[in-house]
Point group: C2
Amino acid sequence: MNIERKHLDKGYIQIYTGNGKGKTTAAIGQAIRAAGAGYRSLIIQFMKEYPYSELNALEYFKEFISIEQYCGDEFVYKKELPSDEEKNKAISALQKVKDEFAKSNFDIIILDEVLVSIYFRLIELQDVIDTVKSKPSNKELILTGRYCPQELIDLADLVTEMKEVKHYYQKGVTSRKGFES
Amino acid sequence: MNIERKHLDKGYIQIYTGNGKGKTTAAIGQAIRAAGAGYRSLIIQFMKEYPYSELNALEYFKEFISIEQYCGDEFVYKKELPSDEEKNKAISALQKVKDEFAKSNFDIIILDEVLVSIYFRLIELQDVIDTVKSKPSNKELILTGRYCPQELIDLADLVTEMKEVKHYYQKGVTSRKGFES
C-alpha cells in the first residue's frame, strides 16, 4: 500500500456493545480508517467462525491489518460450558495482547466479541480487566460484544451501545453472506 | 481484486442512527464486507469534508466501492440555513440514487449522513421518503445520521441506534485523524 506507516502517540479504550448490528463492522471499519492514516491494527476474534466476507476483503489490507481467530462458539449451540481447551486458547489470546503491548507492530488492538465471551464464561472478567489495565498510553484498545460488564465501562474512554430498534430477523430473514457474515 | 462480481437477489432498507460513534464506520464497513462477497456499493456522503482517512483506504476497493460527496456543512458552523445551491446538490444526489436504482452498477447504496441533513433542512424528508419508496427489491439501501424521523424508521427493515454511553470528548479529546476523521 502507498500509505506512510505512522505510530500512534496517544491511544484510548473504546467499547462497542449492545444488542444491535454493527459492533464488529464498526471496529473493523475503524481499523480500515486507521490504515488510511498509516496505523497498523491487530484484530483478535473470539467465538467466530470462518469464512467471513470481511476476511476476504481485508486480504487487501494485510500490510496494515492482521486478524487472528481464537476459540469457536460451538459450545454455545451445544448448550455446554466452554472446555478447558477453549478457555486456554482465550487466555493465550490475552497473553498475545500483552505481548503486543510491549512491541511496536500494532497501534490498535481490537478484541472482537471479547465481551460476550465473558458472558459465556469462555474468559474471566478479571483477566480482561488486567489486560485492559496493562494497556500502554500509545496503544488504542477496542473491545466489542454484547453484555459489557460495568467494570469495563468504568475503565473505557468511549462506550457506544448499538441498540436494536427494528430487525429484519423479525421478518424471517436469516444471516446473509456479505451482510451479517 | 480477485473477487468474483455477484448481484444481489433481495435487498433491504437499513438505518444507522443515534448520537453515538460508528454509524458511518459501520456503513462503510458493510460496503467492505459486501465487497468481500462480490457486491458493489455506492456511498453518497452528505455534509462531509475532505480528506477522510477512509477515502484513502477505500482507494484499494475502487473496483467495488465508489464514493461521491455532495454538499458541505459550512452552513451549520455559520449558523445559517443551507443555500439553494447546496439544497440543489442534495436533490441531485437523490436523483443519482434513483438513476442507479434503474441500473446494475451497484447492489448497495449508502446515503451517509442523509438523516442529519434532513434535520438541518438541507434536504426534505418527503424527498427522502420518495427515494426510499422507489428502491427496487434487488438493491440494498443504507441511511445513516442522527435524528432519524419516525417516518423513515417505519419504512426500514433494520434500524440500529448507536447510543453514546461515554465519550472521551468529555475528557477534552478532539477529533483524531484515523479515528473520527
